[in-house]
């Protein structure tokens, strides 16, 4: 009953916001809508497509052709269901996350039982019990449904709503061991926003863990299905665009080379406006490697045993460092955090991170107003706020990882942190 009430309240809230007179204000906020996902650009693309103009020839539309066709048919046939559709899709995302977290928690439980032998006696009370685990799934649901970041994202009708749905479905598929679903949906998400490609690593690990058997075969199979479906989607998109692959420059190319420097909550725009043009390629590569490749291998090696944590952290890191982040991405990974409720005890920066989130969320729009409307502040103010927002997120992720390590250590060795009789220091490595 309580759960249904949550869905109803959250749904009504989103639907009401979409139908508000201030909807345009919400939908055009830079924090919510980026050149990649904004509703305005989607409409523009569909309009061009409707008039038989290739939307990828201009510089306004950067969604994948599959989305283009999807929204083209909806807008042609049933435009009035769009608010309901977006609300429904967001609620569906929440539901899938709820399901996923339940399944993940089952996996956590199993792995805990496996390691039971290694746990020190005095740390036994720290083990998770069923009630706690059950609770955290509820928290995942609540946080996704009522987090202002997710709510605003849905109210702004950005395509990030769809992307969150795709990623959530992929995670759900992985957690319930359905390889095809997981791979196809992660391929869809990758096709749309590229960065979810990272998630194939944790998904392969999770699938191998859930579908018991030959691990290596499982990895290969997952990878194969993913590559095949991604390739198929690329082909399908070209088929939609009459066999032309030009759209790639305006979708993947747009994400990778960051030509549009409209401010957003990310770190790219300011850096690339300030920089000399001839260093651009170098720094684009550096930034994209940071977002795409840098963390995958070390984190995978360290957290191989816990692919779910790996998935959470990779989603978070890619939303911090991606070229066009928005609050919808932030809301999505924040919703995954309650799964690690048992780590919160070990986290140290909660207060700082919490305060920074609140303060930057309030200051960001303020300095934006001062910069754009009053003309009295400048870009540095806004960038300063987004930078501290990103720093807070990084603190949060690092803190989470470190808390995991501390808990692992404490489970194994008890809470006295002594090595050879001397106080030892734990280091995140």
């Amino acid at each position: 009953m309580g759960v249904i009430l949550k869905y109803v309240v959250a749904g009504l809230l989103r639907y009401w916001l979409i139908n508000l007179d201030y909807w345009q204000t919400i939908a055009n906020r830079v924090e919510i809508a980026t050149p990649l996902n904004s509703w305005k650009r989607l409409i523009e693309g569909v309009y061009l497509y409707d008039h038989n103009i290739n939307p990828y020839e201009g510089d306004s539309f950067h969604e994948s052709p599959i989305m283009l066709v999807f929204f083209y048919y909806i807008m042609k046939k049933v435009p009035f269901i769009l608010p309901v559709l977006f609300t429904f899709l967001d609620l569906l995302t929440a539901h899938l996350l709820y399901k996923t977290s339940k399944a993940f928690i089952r996996i956590l439980k199993e792995s805990q039982e496996k390691q039971l032998a290694e746990v020190a006696d005095e740390s036994k009370p720290m083990l998770l019990d069923d009630a706690q685990l059950k609770e955290s799934a509820e928290y995942v649901l609540s946080v996704y449904l009522f987090n202002p970041y997710s709510v605003l994202n849905c109210a702004g009708m950005t395509t990030t709503v769809i992307q969150n749905l795709l990623v959530a479905t992929a995670l759900w598929g992985a957690s319930s061991g359905q390889r095809i679903v997981a791979c196809v949906f992660i391929a869809l998400a990758t096709h749309q926003a590229l960065y979810p490609v990272l998630l194939i690593v944790p998904i392969a690990l999770i699938l191998a863990e859930v579908n018991k058997g030959c691990t290596k075969c499982s990895y290969i199979r997952t990878l194969l299905v993913f590559v095949l479906s991604w390739g198929f989607l690329i082909y399908l998109s070209a088929y939609i665009m009459d066999g032309s692959y030009k759209y790639v420059y305006n979708t993947y190319g747009f994400i990778l080379t960051v030509p549009d420097l409209k401010p957003n909550i990310g770190l790219f725009w300011y850096f690339f406006t300030e920089m000399f043009e001839h260093f651009r390629v170098l720094f684009v590569c550096a930034f994209q490697i940071n977002a795409l490749a840098l963390y995958v291998i070390p984190l995978t090696l360290r957290f191989k045993k816990d692919p779910i944590l790996l998935a959470t952290v990779l989603i978070a890191l890619s939303s911090i460092f991606r070229s066009y982040p928005c609050v919808g991405d932030v809301g999505f990974y924040l919703a995954l955090l309650p799964m690690w409720k048992h780590l919160f005890t070990f986290m140290q920066q909660k207060f700082i991170v919490g305060c920074t989130f609140i303060i930057t969320s309030a200051l960001g729009p303020t300095v934006w107003h001062l910069w754009i409307y009053s003309g009295s502040a400048n870009a540095n103010f806004f960038f300063g706020v987004t930078l501290s927002f990103a720093t807070a997120q990084i603190f949060l992720i690092t803190d989470l990882l470190f808390a995991y390590i501390k808990r692992e250590f404490t489970l194994k060795h008890g809470s006295s942190r002594q090595v050879d009789g001397k106080p030892a220091k734990l280091v995140l490595r």
């Binding site: 409409i43 009370p125 720290m126 009295s376």
Partner: protein, 723 residues
């Protein structure tokens, strides 16, 4: 990374230190902030003003203004015209102005606007602005400067602006044949003071505030006639929304020029003024670029006109550094006081919102309402020639601008006509106040956590006994609102209590709903004036200010009595210590965030809020049942103090103090009555300003400050069991 991965960061040592010293530290922060603020008036803490924008080249041209004769002529003609034709009427001599402007060969247009007063019975005001454009011979009307005079008729309580109009016309006559103008100059006479200015600016920028609903964005994909969601259709009889979009109908302009770079407003009643007061404060405390302010002061000085800013007079020099400090402080203080309400002190204030730098030059003589001006009688009188020279130099300097004002400072406080305090210098005093609140929040955070059992890993040593298992659960649960804190209260709203176990003494649901509800109440209060004035005039036949004032007072009293019981209504069991502490932490964080955000826009308002509410925020603590008589007395005192800083009480008290300074020799009762009347007017003005001009003061006070106050009030009034 060391900061992140060092386990000693959370060690118990600094937690103990923090718990012990946070009180004195917070107090020191508060005192430090005030001391810092007072120090800002001193020479060593502020700077001499200087020009950042080299393109201005102030005072480099040879002045050629020679139209003082025509200025006197215009002045006399205008006075005659007003006396003979317009003495009784509240209309502007439009035909005379149009005639004169056409005579100078300006492009003359008139502009009509209408105001449907949003409160009360919906009166309708109409007005007309007249403007003439001098097209620049050297460019194609891409940029413009504005010279404007608000028209005030003879019967109004304010001084007329006849000399200002005459000066403007004479200057237009002089400037018309000159070849050096690179920017158009718009000569504008507005009616109804700020209203006309606002209407003209809105019309000039084609501002239509129509917020479009979702389906409008679909364009041709939306078929007309498809049902759309409409809130009003559910409540057909209640006027829910203030239709302030329709309140001011700015009409349309027939002629336009380019983007306006700067505006100079003139308020001169006679040419025989003693000195010029430069007014800069704009809507919501926004200020013009410091370069423009400098320019005006500098060129007044160069033209031999005495000038002043907020009790800092160019002809007065401090005897010693102490004297200078005192003067600097009072100038600064007056500017801050003027900025708090966010009401512009002249028509220039409305330009700032459009990113246009503007100042008002007001001519003053010795009979000024602002108080006694030292040695004013020894000053020589000004005349049209000097004023014309000053205006010419200012406009020719602005004419040199290559790009918009973007250098120099936008956030500053002036300590005298030639000294300023930049944002980097005044922000520390506000930050200290916010830091005090955050330190208090942090200490509450660690205290609450420690009482739960394990704050950090060192204390997990205790987790060996069976009983500590419960403690751990508690701790984990208290941690669980950590994401809640990040994601604000809505997250907590639906966390149903059924799933909580008996051992857990924290219900995130209840406090979350309570927190959210109070903010919704604040939002509701923000929207009441329209309904109050509507029903006030419908049933009691009262003017809107009376119904709004007494309506808001009764709402405030009602809220004071209801809100302490609100949390009990939402729950079955008693409220626990942890819950209330958490609310306290949240509200402290919220208050400091609000102060910071507001101060970014309007430092004075943010600082005033912080100064008034920081003591309350620091002294608010959760009261545990049975803590002894002394604690109970202290708690009572805290409650009394809390009532004293209720937003409404603050408004009335400040108005009483203000009327006391105006009329000092009055009985206290009379002062009280006068103050109450002034408060009534003040509230009404702030409501009307928020509807017409977009002043944020009323909205901020009701929708943010009031809920915060209510939460403090709740915390002070709820008794909880010892943890």
């Amino acid at each position: 990374m060391g900061l992140l991965s060092d386990p000693d960061v959370g060690s118990a040592k600094w937690v103990r230190v923090l718990k012990r010293v946070h009180g004195p530290v917070c107090f020191l922060c508060y005192v430090g902030a005030l001391v810092w603020f007072v120090l800002l008036g001193h020479r060593d803490f502020n700077n001499e003003t200087y020009f950042s924008e080299n393109a201005l080249l102030p005072g480099l041209v040879t002045n050629e203004f020679n139209a003082e004769q025509s200025a006197s002529q215009y002045y006399n003609e205008l006075l005659l015209e007003l006396e003979t034709k317009y003495e009784e009427m509240d209309v502007m001599p439009v035909s005379w102005l149009v005639g004169m402007m056409s005579h100078i060969h300006l492009e003359v247009y008139t502009h009509n606007f209408t105001l449907h007063y949003p409160l009360g019975r919906g009166q309708v005001f109409r007005g007309t602005n007249v403007y003439g454009i001098l097209r620049a011979p050297r460019t194609s009307s891409l940029e413009a400067l504005v010279v404007s005079v608000p028209y005030r008729n003879v019967g109004s309580h304010q001084k007329t602006t006849a000399a200002g109009i005459a000066l403007m016309l004479a200057f237009a006559k002089f400037a018309r044949p000159q070849k050096y103008w690179a920017k158009d100059i718009i000569f504008l006479v507005t009616q109804h003071d700020q209203l006309g200015m606002q209407a003209w600016l809105e019309a000039y920028h084609g501002l239509h505030n129509e917020n479009e609903p979702f389906h409008a964005s679909l364009g041709s994909f939306w078929k007309p006639g498809t049902p759309a969601f409409n809130m009003e259709s559910f409540f057909p009889n209640i006027p829910l929304r203030r239709n302030h979009k329709k309140a001011l109908n700015p009409g349309t302009l027939k002629g336009r020029s380019g983007s306006i770079q700067a505006a100079i407003l003139l308020e001169f009643s006679t040419p025989q003024i003693r000195y010029i007061e430069v007014k800069i404060e704009g809507l919501n405390g926004q200020l013009p670029n410091l370069d423009l302010v400098n320019l005006v002061h500098k060129l007044c000085q160069k033209s031999g006109i005495h000038h002043s800013f907020a009790k800092s007079y160019s002809w007065i020099r401090g005897r010693d550094s102490m004297d200078e400090w005192k003067n600097g402080f009072w100038t600064m203080f007056e500017m801050v006081l003027g900025q708090i309400d966010g009401v512009p002190d002249g028509n220039h204030g409305l330009f700032h919102r459009f990113g246009i730098e503007a100042v008002t030059l007001e001519g003053r003589d010795e009979l000024d309402p602002g108080g006694k001006v030292p040695r004013v009688n020894s000053l020589s009188f000004c005349n049209f020639y000097k004023l014309g020279i000053a205006l010419e130099s200012i406009l020719r300097s602005l004419n040199n601008l290559l790009e918009r004002f973007h250098q120099s400072y936008f956030f500053y406080i002036l300590a005298s006509t030639h000294r300023f305090i930049s944002i980097g210098q005044y922000m520390p005093s506000l930050c200290l106040l916010c830091v005090a609140m955050l330190i208090r929040a942090l200490s509450l955070w660690v205290t609450t956590l420690q009482q739960d059992g394990d704050y950090n890993d060192k204390q997990t040593k205790k987790v060996t006994t069976k009983s500590s298992k419960h403690k751990l659960e508690k701790a984990k649960d208290s941690d669980s609102e950590e994401p809640g804190e990040q994601e604000t209260q809505e997250v907590k709203k639906v966390k149903t209590p059924e799933k909580k176990k008996a051992t857990i003494n924290m219900s995130v649901l209840n406090i979350g709903v309570n927190y959210l509800l109070l903010h919704l109440i604040g939002y509701g209060v923000m929207n009441t004036p329209f309904i109050l004035s509507y029903y006030g005039s419908l049933y009691y036949n009262k003017p809107p200010e009376v119904s709004v004032y007494f309506g808001i007072i009764s709402i405030a009293v009602l809220l004071i009595f209801i809100t302490p019981f609100l949390p009990y209504m939402l729950r079955k069991g008693p409220i626990t210590y942890e819950e209330l502490s958490l609310v306290n932490i949240l509200v402290l964080t919220e208050l400091s965030t609000v102060c910071l955000s507001v101060a970014m826009q309007n430092f004075s308002l943010g600082f005033a809020i912080a100064v008034i509410y920081t003591p309350l925020a620091l002294m608010t603590s959760v009261y545990v049942k049975g803590s002894g008589k002394a604690r109970a007395c202290v708690q009572l005192l805290k409650r009394v103090w809390c009532v004293c800083v209720h937003p409404l009480v603050v408004v009335v008290a400040s108005m009483v103090a203000y009327s006391r300074t105006l009329v000092a020799d009055d009985t206290w009762l009379a002062t009280l009555g006068r103050g109450s009347d002034a408060a009534m007017q003040a509230i009404m003005f702030s409501v009307a300003d928020s509807m017409l001009y977009g002043n944020w003061l009323f909205n901020l006070t009701t929708s943010v400050i009031l809920p915060i106050w209510l939460i403090f009030w709740q915390i002070l009034n709820i008794k909880v069991d010892a943890p």
